[in-house]
Amino acid sequence: MPGFLIRRVLLLLPVFLAVSVVIFLILHLIPGDPVDNLVKVGTPAAKRAEITARYGLDRPLVVQYGIWLWAVMHGDLGTSIVTHRPVASLIGQALPHSLALGGAALAFSSALGILLGVVAAAWRDRWPDQIIMGGVLVGSTLPSFWLGLLLILAFAVQLGWFPVSGARGWDSLILPVLTIGLGGTALVARVTRVAMIEAGGRDFVMLLHAKGLPPGRIRLRHVLRHALIPVVTILALRIGWILGGAVTVEYVFARPGLGSTLIKGLNQHDYPVVQACLLMLAVAVMLGTLLGDVVQALMDPRVRGALG
């Protein structure tokens, strides 16, 4: 196992470098001189030169990249142009909220999605399947901001069960989690259903049936375990969604988070913030891929056996 892990981590290094180059270049891809975004119009030439030098923008691009990467490796994500605060502290404030919302939404949509997928596969093509898959389809086609607003109207305003907005306490998580979770549920439910149907047709399942094991036990203990492999892979690959994809919901519910920090940074042309948020998301995506591989390895008896 350790050998497998080390190999996978080493494989991530070139990807990380490639990503960091892309993210670094974003500031330079945007039309216009980055210095214009750093200084106010009408700044004297001397001050402009000083700022150019301070950000190292007078050096060759490769050197600039090196300096930036070195700083990032040491935890220095730069200073926000708009708020004059260390970007690390801005991200530090946003990340816990993103993790809480994303984690809860992930848990919700996995649990509900797997349950619905198993049920739908068990009653395949009969009415429970039709109802579940139809409901799941509707849930995934509603624009999330629209759904969020309607949920606010119904549960926060009319019924008064949950807070309307903000991130204060667990109950403010429920409506945002529902809003995001419904979309995720559809994905998980579909993948689970298909995987259950496929795994159910394998030879070893026939064998278990032939041995006379109760069908319910076969389905939950053996088929589900096989069916979960693609589900986990999909979930792990989509970890970037969990952290960044909630931006619309964060906006509707006025919640702080990584996605809204990134969008605000983009709107305000606050490039250090944009770079740092993208880097955070990219790292999360890579860790997610790694996690997916590891979990897949642990769950798949053949791979586990090979690791021996």
């Binding site: 106010k40 119009v41 009408g42 490796m73 040491h74 935890g75 220095d76 994500l77 708009v82 708020t83 004059h84 605060r85 260390p86 690390a88 502290s89 801005l90 991200i91 530090g92 404030q93 990340l95 816990p96 909220h97 606010i152 926060a156 305003v157 008064g160 807070p163 309307v164 907005s165 903000g166 991130a167 204060r168 306490g169 667990w170 006025a254 702080p256 605000k264 709107n267 305000q268 042309h269």
Partner: protein, 524 residues
């Protein structure tokens, strides 16, 4: 790797955990800041480009201004102006202490005034040559020229008194985790764009005579939340998530009146909505086109339909409460589509078949900038349609509210829809002064005659009456050149939950400040 990020994440999660266990009872209240006060980067009044209501909770001013625009003692017990206007002596209240325990002295005042010299707000102390500490509690302002507006400046939120040493020591970090004033509340925490939590200053004993309450404030803790959307704020108030909104959009007034638990109160507004016209950009280099664009704006239609008839139309640049707004009525700008069309014809812009005018084959197509807040987007769409009615095709570009100022600085705007919040005639100088092109002078207006009148208004007034006269003349001339079109002046509406909060009978001052907040309490 990532060591520093980890510590800040830890710190953040600790503070988040602390928030979640916050007790709900006691003298605690949550206010929502007005949407135009959202996004303050720090609580440093000297460097601030904008301030919000919380500034006046943290910082007291030397002088307090009441709703009738009269001045009252605050940190200064009394003051004397020299007969020639060349010096002012302020007698400080004894026993005033900053949140860090340092006493407020005349020497502190002198240091603080010097801090303004390098900031964008330096114009507030331009007339002051220096401040001399006569003794610990006597500060003498020696003037370069008479400044009848000094008391107004000293009462504004930008001139709340901070500990100047704290600002010097902390530099850019000042006003983020720590802000040191003498006000009735201390800064406990500030999360950018989210909320500001203040706790009571238990040593407070130097309230303004305008406050009914003596000694420390009744509330123990105030949370000011920032919400980008008015609808969210309204829903929070309705569902009990917050106790008060410091500004209510006119769309929600009827609904708040219909709610038995909510109360609404209005104070005269200080805001004016207007459309700056860039005089340096074609086709607006032609005064006739500028005048036509200004006359195309139907103020009454906007008042009735966009703002539900609440507030008043604006016919010039200043709020009606100011004497300087009373210019020659023939100069006031109001809707006149016939004249607008005639002026455009005269200027050579002929109406085309598609309803857009053209001259020498070029369509009369202009850029119309606005900010992303919903009320501005809506108002701008109406302005777009009104301009179209006289044949001007305006293309809307929307910018983030916090970056549009930087965009203006490049000077490429043609038209924009915006508003300002101020209750003094010197706002004309701020937005049309020839040395502030781009921003704040979005109109890029730089006119020799205007500069002359401006100089006289800013520096040549010895008494208040003279100042009113000079500013009226300056304001009238600027208006006659059409570097802007006036649109609307709102009243300020606030709403609170009357089952939760006890508000003072009337609001002292021109907005809700610390002077009023010490009287607010929670029903128990």
């Amino acid at each position: 790797m990532f060591a520093r990020i980890r510590t800040s994440i830890l710190a953040a999660s600790v503070s988040a955990a602390a928030l979640m266990t916050l007790p709900a009872a006691g003298q605690e209240a949550t206010f929502v800041l007005s949407t135009n006060e959202v996004g303050i980067p720090n609580y440093n009044p000297v460097m601030a480009v904008n301030t919000n209501t919380a500034f006046s909770m943290i910082y007291d001013t030397l002088v307090a201004q009441d709703a009738d625009l009269s001045f009252h003692p605050f940190l200064a017990e009394s003051w004397d102006e020299a007969p020639d206007g060349m010096s002012w002596v302020f007698h400080l209240k004894p026993g005033v202490k900053f949140h860090n325990g340092k006493p407020l002295t005349a020497a502190v005042i002198a240091k603080w005034i010097e801090l303004f010299r390098k900031s964008e707000n330096s114009y507030m102390v331009d007339a002051v040559d220096r401040v001399e500490a006569v003794d610990d509690l006597t500060a003498k302002f020696v003037m370069k020229h008479p400044e009848p507006n000094l008391l107004f400046n000293l009462s504004s939120s930008f001139m709340g008194v901070p500990d100047p040493d704290a600002i010097t020591e902390m530099g850019d970090n000042y006003g983020i985790s720590e802000a040191v004033g003498t006000g009735p509340f201390k800064l406990e925490s500030f999360t950018l764009g989210q909320e500001t939590v203040l706790v009571r200053n238990d040593d407070y004993a130097w309230e303004s005579p305008l406050s009914a309450n003596k000694g420390p404030a009744k509330l123990e803790r105030i949370t000011f939340r920032e919400m980008a959307e008015d609808s969210t704020a309204f829903l929070e108030l309705k569902s009990g998530g917050v106790d008060a909104l410091l500004s209510v959009p006119t769309d929600y007034i009827d609904q708040i009146k219909a709610e038995p638990t909510l109360a609404l109160f209005s104070i005269p507004g200080q805001e004016v909505y207007y459309m700056p016209i860039n005089v340096t950009r074609e086709p607006f280099t032609d005064i006739k086109v500028r005048q036509a664009a200004a006359l195309a704006i139907n103020q009454k239609e906007i008042l009735e339909n966009v703002f539900g008839g609440h507030g008043a139309v604006a016919n010039n640049f200043l709020i009606s409460a100011l004497p300087e707004s009373k210019i020659d009525p023939s100069l006031d700008i109001s809707y006149d589509p016939a004249k607008a069309n005639a002026l455009l014809d005269e200027a050579g812009w002929k109406m085309g078949a598609d309803g857009v005018r053209a001259k020498d084959g070029k369509p009369l197509s202009v850029a119309l900038w606005t900010q992303s807040d919903s009320i501005f987007r809506r108002l701008t769409e109406v302005v777009q349609a009104q301009l179209k009615a006289v044949g001007i095709d305006a293309k809307i570009t929307t910018f983030d509210s916090s970056t549009i100022r930087d965009q203006y600085k490049a000077g490429e705007q043609q038209l924009a829809v915006r508003s300002y919040f101020w209750n003094n005639a010197d706002i004309v100088d701020w937005f049309f002064g020839g040395d502030r092109l781009g921003y704040p002078n979005i109109s890029m207006f730089n006119d020799p005659k205007a500069e002359e009148l401006r100089d006289k208004a800013m520096k040549g007034s010895k008494t208040q009456d003279e100042r009113v006269q000079n500013f009226t003349a300056y304001h009238a001339y600027v208006t006659s050149q059409f570097p802007y079109a006036p649109i609307y002046q709102p009243e300020q509406n606030m709403a609170y939950n009357k089952d939760r909060l006890v508000m003072p009978d009337r609001i002292h001052g021109t907005s809700v400040t610390g002077v009023d907040m010490v009287d607010v309490s929670v029903k128990e």
